[in-house]
Each structure stands twice: as structure tokens, then as C-alpha cells.
């Protein structure tokens, strides 16, 4: 089997499966799930590789969404430009916020992010009402212009773009895993003082990770903004903070496939179960408890051995053992 297939075979498998799901399941569900998977991958990187728990992820998601939304509602009409603006705003915001919040550690970091989320909500709902229209939100679906190649006015194309971007984000995470930088991230999680005493600038390591993760969250937000054609402060409500944490932990934080699995599972609960059961969160809660009792790597701990033996069946010739 060629080398590239060995190295990237798994990604073809995983995202091929996502593509197939698209045929079997309702389009709004798969779009939502793929975008949410990007958001979850970003958070999983923070919590799993750097050990930074944040209760304020919605603020980074919404910054991207508002960046795109405000651009599309007030300035331009090209959704790709909007996407770009959203990500750039996300990068600038996390550069600034990271330089402040990363001086905190542990619980303080988590809670400062929660507070940031509350402040952000207030800003977008009340303080900046002349720009954001407050609770009404910004509506610009009709304003978005058609684009030649992937026309983002059609949900199908939003799905294709989201899937391509999810693959790119996944590849980035895989690459980071194999770089010295990835090892340094894990080292920060394991023993930050030790890394400093090896001469590394740990603040820089954390800052870059923070910006990468939260710019990716902003990308997810920008995609949501384009897909829905409107933004409102509801995306930044504090009650939404746990959803990405739950999804990341469900799938297994810090693993490559975990966030994908977790995101699909969570959105499936939210979209599909909630049509039958009013208190669908109850099921999520029970599932989280059960999975956490197993291992911190979530559901991947259970699935990995199964997938691995399956993958070995496909990728290797069976070993012939002879008894002497």
C-alpha cells in the first residue's frame, strides 16, 4: 500500500463516511454537525493538548460569526470575504484576549473565560445595539451575492465548504501532533515549569495554541453565520458554553477522531432526539456520566481497539502463524 494512503488513509475513511452520512441524513443536520465538529476540534485541542479548560468558548465562536455578520450586513456582499473577515477578527480578538487571559491558569482561566462570555453577550446584545440590532440580530441572507464556484447561497455548497474546511482543520491538528510544537504543547500540559527550565518560551507556546484554537472556533462561527444568514446574541448565551465541552469530552479530548464523533453524537441528540423527547439533555447527561466513568479519552477509548483491529484487517496481510 502506498505511503500516502497509509498516512492519510484514515482521513479518507472518516470524511468519506461523513460524506456518505450526508446522503442518508437530513442536510441541515449534517451541516450543523460538520460545523460544530470544527468548533469541537478547536476546543479539544485546547483542553486535550494544552490542558486549558475554558467555559467561554461561545464568545470566540460568536466573534467569528459577528465578524462575518456585520461585514455582510453593513459592508460587503461576498460570503467568502465575510468568512475571511470573520476569521481575521477571530485571530485579532484571540491575540489580544490570549495575551491577557493566558496569564491565568487552571480554574481561574476557565472562569475568566466564562466572565468574558458574559461581557461579550452584554456588548452584542445591549452596548453595541446600533451595530448589532440587539436581540433582533442581523439578517443578511438576501444580501449575500452568488459566487461562481461554490455558491454559498445553497446549503449543499455550504456543506461541501464546511467539510473541506473540517478536513483542513483536522489535517492541521494531525500535523501539529507530529511537530515539535505539538510535543511542546503536551509538555506544557504535563509540566510547564520543566519546559521553561529547558529554555522554552511556554507563554508563546500557549499563546499560539490559543490563537490557533480560537481562530478555528471563529471559523466555525463564520460558517454558521453564512449558513443561517443571520447572527444574534443567542449564540453567545452562557448556557451554551457547556455544549462544546460536553461534545469534546464525549468523543475524547485531545484525540484526533474524538471531536468528530462527539460533535456528531451531540448534534444528533440535539436535533434528532429532541424531536421525540422534550428533555433531551437528560440523555446527554447520562451518557456523559457513563463515558466519563470509563476514561478521560471518552468514547474513543472504547472504539479505538475495534477500529484498530478493523483497520489492520484492511491494511495488512493477515499474519500466518505456524505451530511448530
Amino acid at each position: 500500500m502506498p505511503r500516502w494512503l497509509k498516512r492519510y488513509g484514515d482521513i479518507l475513511l472518516v470524511f468519506g463516511a461523513v460524506g456518505l452520512l450526508r446522503l442518508a441524513l437530513p442536510v441541515p443536520f449534517v451541516i450543523h454537525a460538520v460545523i460544530f465538529a470544527i468548533y469541537t476540534m478547536a476546543f479539544s485541542f485546547l483542553i486535550g493538548r494544552l490542558g486549558l479548560v475554558s467555559f467561554g468558548q461561545p464568545v470566540y465562536l460568536s466573534i467569528g460569526a459577528y465578524g462575518t455578520g456585520i461585514y455582510l450586513a453593513r459592508f460587503g456582499t461576498n460570503p467568502y470575504a465575510g468568512l475571511f473577515v470573520g476569521v481575521v477578527v477571530g485571530i485579532l480578538f484571540s491575540l489580544l484576549i490570549g495575551s491577557l487571559l493566558l496569564r491565568l491558569t487552571g480554574d481561574y482561566f476557565a472562569l475568566a473565560n466564562l466572565a468574558l462570555c458574559a461581557v461579550g453577550f452584554f456588548f452584542f446584545q445591549k452596548a453595541l445595539v446600533s451595530v448589532t440590532n440587539g436581540d433582533t440580530g442581523l439578517w443578511y441572507l438576501a444580501r449575500m451575492s452568488s459566487t461562481p464556484i461554490l455558491n454559498l447561497r445553497q446549503p449543499n455548497n455550504v456543506f461541501v465548504l464546511a467539510l473541506i474546511l473540517a478536513v483542513l482543520v483536522w489535517l492541521l491538528m494531525k500535523y501539529i501532533d507530529s511537530s515539535v510544537y505539538g510535543a511542546a504543547c503536551l509538555a506544557v500540559k504535563g509540566n510547564e515549569t520543566k519546559l521553561q527550565l529547558l529554555g522554552y518560551d511556554t507563554f508563546g507556546v500557549k499563546w499560539l495554541a490559543f490563537v490557533l484554537a480560537n481562530a478555528t472556533a471563529a471559523l466555525a462561527g463564520a460558517l454558521y453565520a453564512i449558513y443561517f444568514g443571520f447572527v444574534s446574541p443567542a449564540s453567545m448565551e452562557l448556557v451554551r458554553a457547556p455544549e462544546v465541552i460536553v461534545a469534546a469530552l464525549l468523543g475524547g479530548a485531545g484525540t484526533l477522531y474524538g471531536p468528530l464523533l462527539g460533535a456528531f453524537l451531540y448534534i444528533a441528540m440535539q436535533d434528532l432526539v429532541s424531536t421525540h423527547v422534550l428533555y433531551w439533555e437528560l440523555f446527554v447527561g447520562i451518557m456523559v456520566v457513563l463515558i466519563m466513568m470509563g476514561d478521560e479519552k471518552g468514547i474513543t477509548t472504547w472504539l479505538k481497539p475495534i477500529f484498530r483491529s478493523g483497520w489492520q484487517l484492511v491494511s495488512r496481510r493477515p499474519k500466518i502463524t505456524r505451530t511448530p
Partner: protein
């Protein structure tokens, strides 16, 4: 000996934690390639001395010199970049990285002349970086059969060896070892002594804090006794152990 000759020197170093005074006007000079030991009862201020030298603690008064320059106010990271490395009393490695990656992180820093840049780290793929050198180091230091084990799962002896290996790889100018033999078996200790003799002696200055004094006999060419933040004896191994001051305050042998 003037301070120009000394590689590392401290002058009137004082640090207080409330009523405890783990460094009370300590003067100490370490020459190039000297192997020196520091002994003293628990709470004498040995580890604090290391913390002051490496920058984990800032002294209340006094100065730390390295290669003729004042480094009292430098960050721990800057001092490491100058070539001061230490190990810890509780073996400190990256428990969540495998042994090879631990070594790789240490080696990479040396490759970048002590200053790993973010961009460099990001663009350097772990798998391919100097794999041969890394493999050589891993085998040479005796980690061949645990190379891909997570360091958290190593025995204490192996952890200590790994920590030492990570410090040696960087080829520091001064190596500070905080109780490298604590909790180890005789065999493990002799392995560490071998490592120090083969890989470090003559290449760097070494300062060892240790309670297992007999092991220091063949290792050090100088021994100091620290009691209550003060150096009470300093000299060769024999001189230090036989000095009346040390016998009185460390061994509590009161000779009339």
C-alpha cells in the same frame, strides 16, 4: 580566587521565608569543570540555594554571577539559555510524553542554540528531526527498551536517569543535581554515577546536593556543608567531613 575566575558565583546571598532563613549571606564560587558536592541536614537551604541560582526564587539581597555577568534578575528561562541546567528532588520529566519525545524536546532546544523559536517548532516535524541522533542518544543513555513508553510509567530510577539525560543532552556549562540518588537502589545509583563520570566529567561544572555522602567520595573534588543557610565548611571531601564546624552542627558530634 577572584570572581573573574569563577564560572558561577554567589555573593552574600540571603533569602528569608518568615522566620526561616534558608540562605544567610552565602558566598560560593564554582570553577569551570569542577565537580562539587553540597551536604547538609534537611531544611538547611540546599534546594533554596539551587532555586536562587536557577532563578525560581529571587534573593532578598546578594547577587548571582555567571561567567562574570550579574544574573540575579534574569528569568529562569534566560539562565537556562546561558547554560545553567538543573534536576529536581522529585524527578521531573514530561509524564505524558514518551521517552523518545522527552529526549527530543530537550535535544531540539540544544539544536536551536538554546532558543527554540515558535516558528521553528511549528515547522519542524517531530518524526523526521534528527531521528538518528535521537535514537543514538536514547540507546546510549540506556533507554532502548523503554523508548516508546510514556515517561509517567517509568520506574523512579529510569525517571531520574531520563531527567539527567535531558539535562546532559543540552551540554550545559553548569549542571545542578538535586538529590540525584534519593530513593534509588545501589545499582541504579552506580548507573547514574557512571553516566556522570562518562558524559559530564571534564565537560561541565557539576554541583550535587546529596544525602548519600559516601557515593560522593569518588565523584566530587570539593565538598561543602550547609547548615541553617550558612556554609560551615568547604574543602576537599576529607577536609569538609573532618572540619570541627561540620562535625558540630551537621553530625552533632560535640567534641570538647
Amino acid at each position: 580566587m577572584s570572581s573573574e575566575e569563577a564560572l558561577l558565583g554567589v555573593e552574600n546571598l540571603t533569602k528569608r521565608f518568615g522566620a526561616v532563613c534558608p540562605a544567610n549571606g552565602v558566598n560560593y564560587k564554582l570553577r569551570e569543570n569542577q565537580v562539587a558536592g553540597i551536604i547538609g541536614p534537611n531544611g538547611a537551604g540546599k534546594t533554596t540555594f539551587f532555586n536562587l541560582v536557577t532563578g525560581l526564587c529571587i534573593p532578598d539581597s546578594g547577587n548571582v554571577f555567571f561567567q562574570g555577568g550579574d544574573i540575579t534578575r534574569l528569568s529562569p528561562q534566560k539562565r537556562v539559555q546561558l547554560g545553567i541546567r538543573r534536576t529536581f528532588q522529585l524527578a521531573s520529566v514530561f509524564d505524558n510524553l514518551c521517552v523518545v519525545d522527552n529526549i527530543r524536546v530537550a535535544y531540539y532546544q540544544k539544536q536551536r542554540a538554546g532558543r527554540p523559536s515558535l516558528g521553528g517548532m511549528f515547522l519542524t516535524e517531530l518524526v523526521g528531526v534528527h531521528s538518528e541522533t535521537i535514537d543514538e542518544l536514547t540507546e546510549g543513555m540506556g533507554f532502548a527498551n523503554v523508548a516508546h513508553t510514556e515517561a509517567g510509567g517509568l520506574s523512579l530510577g529510569n525517571k531520574r536517569k531520563l531527567e539527567l539525560a535531558m539535562a546532559i543532552i543540552a551540554e550545559p556549562k553548569v549542571l545542578l543535581l538535586d538529590e540525584p540518588f534519593a530513593g534509588l537502589s545501589e545499582m541504579e545509583i552506580s548507573q547514574i554515577v557512571e553516566m556522570l563520570k562518562n558524559r559530564c566529567a571534564g565537560k561541565m561544572s557539576i554541583l550535587i546536593i546529596e544525602h548519600k555522602i559516601t557515593w560522593l567520595k569518588d565523584l566530587v573534588d570539593r565538598l561543602s556543608v550547609l547548615v541553617n543557610g550558612e556554609l560551615v565548611a568547604d574543602g576537599t571531601y576529607q577536609e569538609a567531613l573532618e572540619s570541627p564546624q561540620a562535625r558540630k552542627s551537621y553530625w552533632k558530634l560535640i567534641e570538647e
